[in-house]
């Protein structure tokens, strides 16, 4: 055991941390872009007036939630290159993550919007508000508060989900751990460390969400 640890140096730790940064960047990218997709999906899924759009939103959500993320990453990564689209790896891996986020968060947005009572809508309408004003000033303040816990839940899933990008050789945290464990054979140590880093990313997220929930809960 001791001689195995000798092979494991601070450089390896730095390499892991670099991988962690890539993981965080990927999540930030997927979550922020995915949120834009999700808002769109959430809004068209709750639009009473446009049934055709609602069906498209439904199909999108079902497909991306009903298939493994791993498969989506494979298809996006290799499929796009078969189609002749040579995208930078970061982008090729981000696209499925964004669409996956869009589907899950889209459902969370929909649930948030639908949780706002009919009476709130009618109060806004009776004051002469437009759909957009209602969404922005009446529905959003209520819906966002409802959306926080499931969103953080999803974000934590996403952080772990990015580890699947290792299958296409993209060096994020998990791949970095794999590479080091191959060269040092300190497999247990390396993956314990990798796990600790994931936890170190996710736990503060949970804490922050709890704080935010408590702060926003006033006057509920």
């Amino acid at each position: 055991m001791p001689e195995l640890l000798v092979a494991f140096s601070y450089k390896d730790v730095l390499f892991l941390l670099q991988g962690a940064l890539v993981t965080i960047a990927m999540c930030a990218m997927a979550f922020s872009c995915g949120l834009v997709v999700a808002l769109l999906i959430g809004l068209i899924r709750t639009a009473r007036r446009f049934p055709a759009l609602r069906w498209i939103g439904w199909g999108y959500v079902e497909i991306f939630r009903g298939t493994p993320l791993l498969m989506q990453i494979f298809i996006a990564y290799f499929g796009l290159s078969i189609l002749g689209l040579e995208l930078p790896r970061f982008v090729a891996v981000s696209i499925p993550l964004i669409l996956y986020t869009g589907a899950y968060m889209g459902e969370i947005v929909r649930a948030g919007v639908e949780a706002v009572s009919r009476g709130q809508w009618e109060a806004g309408w009776s004051l002469g508000m437009s759909y957009r004003q209602l969404m922005r000033y009446v529905v959003a303040p209520v819906a966002v508060r409802i959306m926080i816990p499931p969103s953080v839940g999803f974000l934590v899933q996403l952080v772990k989900g990015t580890s699947l990008a290792y299958v296409v050789g993209y060096v994020e945290l998990t791949r970095a751990g794999y590479i080091i464990s191959q060269s040092t054979y300190a497999t247990m140590l390396v993956f314990t460390l990798v796990g600790a880093i994931y936890f170190g990313i996710n736990y503060p997220l949970s804490l922050a969400s709890q704080r935010l929930e408590i702060r926003l809960k006033r006057h509920a």
Binding site: E122, G128, Y137
Partner: protein, 240 residues
């Protein structure tokens, strides 16, 4: 001010309004009574375009109400609506509840919206609750904020949909008092209510709705003392 001509409304196969015709002139207070399910609330909701009608015509101050047109928003600005369940915006203070639409719908500067909101809340006796959130207010106070919110838009017509039905008995009086003040100030009002005492004191005219039709209408005194319609007589007896 308000005119309904042979208004019909269906919910699916259910024919809820069967040819309602009525007029309300400026400054008049009309109270609408009837059993639950008779369609009286639906009349108010149609006037405000919250429910589309399938036949007939509704005019507010010379303009046709079409629930599907964009123009209905303009009409709603001029028609105040107070709901049974208050429907205050939960994350806004009393003051913000009243000033929100002034800011975003009427595009008023902040200071002006604020001063109107303060004035309206004073009018309903809530000057000391400007910064309170709805969850810190009693039902009666919430309903008075809701009335202030509707009044702030400076409506030509106010619609009240069973606004005291969700209140504890001891809180009903404070809300009715505000409404009575409004009526005495010359506001045109259509009030759906079960408060017969209020109807007697305040109404100029009473409509009795039965199974989607106006079964009887007339001056307040006549409706209560000399009802001609059989179902109205039964209704009044069941309430008194």
């Amino acid at each position: 001010m308000l005119e309904l001509e042979d208004v019909h409304k269906w919910f699916g196969n259910l024919h809820v309004l069967k040819g309602i015709s009525m007029t309300v002139s400026r400054g008049e207070v009309v109270v609408v009574i009837g059993r639950s399910g008779s369609g009286k609330s639906t009349i108010l909701r149609c006037i405000n375009g919250l429910e589309p009608i399938q036949q007939g015509r509704i005019m507010v101050d010379g303009e046709v109400v079409d629930a599907h047109s964009r123009h209905v928003r303009k009409i709603r600005e001029e028609v105040g609506f107070v709901f049974q369940s208050f429907n205050l915006f939960p994350y806004y203070t009393a003051l913000e509840n009243v000033s929100l639409a002034l800011k975003i719908v009427k595009k008023m500067p902040l200071a002006e919206a604020r001063s109107i909101a303060e004035e309206m809340l004073a009018r309903v006796g809530l000057s000391d609750k400007l910064d309170a959130y709805p969850d810190r207010l009693s039902g009666g106070q919430q309903q008075r904020v809701a009335i202030a919110r509707a009044l702030a838009m400076n409506p030509k017509l106010m619609l009240f949909d069973e606004v005291t039905s969700a209140l504890d008995p001891e809180l009903v009086g404070e809300v009715l008092k505000v409404m009575q003040d409004l009526a005495e100030g010359g506001m045109t009002m259509v009030v759906v209510t079960h408060e017969m005492g209020f109807a007697r004191r305040v109404a100029d005219r009473v409509l009795f709705i039965h199974e989607g039709q106006i079964a009887e209408e007339g001056p307040t005194a006549q409706i209560f003392t000399a009802p001609r319609n059989e179902s109205l007589r039964a209704f009044i007896e069941s309430i008194l």
